[in-house]
């Protein structure tokens, strides 16, 4: 379970030419007030691709993420998702029940604060099992076995399966949230500042774990972060946002090492070097 940075591995890179996008976003806009929200965003996300959305607080990153992941109805635009179960879907044209079903099965959402993504008063095992039951798994022993496997995959001792998340450290809670999301083998994960609230030492471990899981499972990920080091480590491609607009987009290392837009240059040059 180890790896290095430089460039996140692309799974199935041989197939790059034949693939259809998993998610196509067309002219998506959602504004709360002028300049607050996100406007006119378009992009394609391909299977196995990790897209990082970076920018300062208030730049519209989270609004965009919420609009993409069916949690916030946009003012305009389309989000087309190619579902394994339902075929091609125009998300906000369909039934809400369909979106909810996607969220429980083909999608995962990792929140910045684990308490937003976990049920704090039920056991770790139940937190993982709940998602399995939501997709129809009924056998208790099978659910418990899968829960144990996933605890181990995120480096939590299996003996903690009956403990509640409230008895876990912040880093463990975050790893449990990831396990809960991955147990149903989602194809697309949305992450909002997944390392945001963690100590630097805990962050490194989580990043290494995430990076490996994403590569091994061939997940597509959209990750919002204001931490450019996190973006460099995890994302194949970056989208830089400012005041609700995408100002620059491209290969992660190209955007960070040779930024073109004044705002991206400012963002990159503001990092302290050590």
């Amino acid at each position: 379970m180890n790896s290095i940075c430089e460039q996140p591995a692309m799974l199935n890179s041989d197939d790059w030419q034949d693939m259809e996008p998993l998610l196509s976003v067309q002219n998506l806009s959602k504004f709360y007030a002028p300049g607050k929200g996100c406007g006119n965003v378009s992009f394609d996300l391909y299977p196995g691709e990790v897209l990082g959305i970076v920018g300062e607080s208030g730049s519209g990153k989270s609004t965009l993420l919420n609009s993409l992941s069916a949690r916030l109805v946009p003012d305009e635009g389309h989000v087309i998702y190619r579902s394994e179960q339902f075929g091609e879907l125009d998300l906000y044209q369909g039934e809400e029940s369909l979106r909810r079903q996607l969220m429980r099965s083909e999608w995962g959402i990792v929140h910045q604060h684990p308490r937003d993504g976990l049920r704090m008063n039920v056991s770790a095992g139940a937190n993982i099992g709940e998602r399995l039951m939501a997709v129809g798994e009924r056998h208790y022993s099978e659910i418990r076995q899968r829960a144990i496997e996933w605890l181990q995959a995120v480096e939590i001792d299996a003996s903690r399966i009956d403990d509640r998340p409230s008895q876990f450290s912040g880093g463990m809670q975050q790893r449990l949230q990831i396990a809960r999301n991955l147990v149903t083998h989602p194809r697309l994960i949305f992450m909002d500042e997944p390392t945001g609230g963690l100590d630097v030492s805990v962050q490194a471990r989580l990043l290494d774990l995430l990076r490996n899981l994403v590569a091994q499972l061939g997940l597509s990920v959209i990750i919002v972060t204001h931490d450019l080091a996190v973006a460099r480590l995890l994302a194949h491609r970056l989208m830089v946002m400012r005041r609700g607009e995408v100002v620059e987009t491209g290969l992660t290392d190209q955007v960070l090492d040779d930024p073109q837009h004044p705002y991206t240059q400012l963002l990159v040059s503001s990092i302290l070097q050590n």
Partner: protein, 228 residues
């Protein structure tokens, strides 16, 4: 001879928007063709644009004009217009880049750092490990360090770990950005051997080397960067 790298009319300037919009041109109508089994050494003063060209060949820098084609099997791919995931796929198996600097995630052991690019290609773990151990031994990285993260190593040790990582995959195209800077004579010799072995198996190599002995030992051609 097969053309592996074909650079035509490349323009590159930098504009520093946050420093009064200062703009300077670094590459003007740059041309460069490199064949397989050939090692081209870029030459020129500091600031002449050697590193800029090398980084553009890896699509790490964006160019303002011209084309940069790299051979991927039977195809030539223009990396100035290719999609990001096309470039990432090229970097996985076709073009390698070795700089002086190692970037690591804390807590990842040296052996894993070196093996990773080959593992990512789906090569069997035992094969990757054997090759990584061989490279680390040849580059005189003591075996007792292999299980440790290189984040605490000396600069020279990190550099040699990085070289081992850069040579773990037999890339058809290799870009070398001063990989021998600050290495001692015996380790420089190892790097020269690695480069010549890569050349012998048909790799096209573009490098920047400040040590004259290295340059003479590997270069088939010196290319003056101002004359590009």
């Amino acid at each position: 001879m097969t053309t592996m790298i074909d650079v035509r009319g490349v323009e590159k300037s930098f504009t520093l928007h946050n420093q009064g919009g200062a703009s300077f041109s670094v590459l003007e109508r740059a041309q460069l063709q490199v064949a397989s089994a050939e090692c081209v050494v870029l030459h020129g003063q500091s600031g002449a644009g050697k590193s800029t060209l090398l980084k553009a060949l890896y699509a790490n820098y964006a160019v303002d004009g011209g084309s940069i084609e790299l051979r991927d099997g039977k195809q030539m791919v223009d990396i100035t217009t290719a999609l990001p995931r096309r470039i990432l796929a090229l970097r996985e198996r076709t073009v390698g880049y070795v700089s002086q600097f190692l970037r690591v995630i804390p807590r990842v052991p040296t052996l894993e750092v070196v093996m990773q690019p080959l593992l990512d290609l789906g090569v069997e773990r035992a094969v990757c490990q054997a090759k990584a151990e061989d490279l680390l031994s040849r580059l005189n990285v003591p075996q007792r360090l292999w299980s440790l993260s290189p984040s605490t190593f000396s600069g020279g040790e990190q550099q040699r770990v990085n070289i081992a990582r850069g040579f773990i995959v037999d890339y058809p195209i290799l870009l070398l950005d001063e990989p021998t800077a600050s290495l001692d004579a015996s380790n420089r010799k190892v790097v020269v051997q690695l480069i010549n072995e890569a050349k012998a198996r048909g790799a096209a190599i573009v490098g920047i080397f400040h040590d004259e002995d290295v340059r003479e030992a590997v270069a088939d051609r010196l290319v003056d960067i101002r004359a590009l």
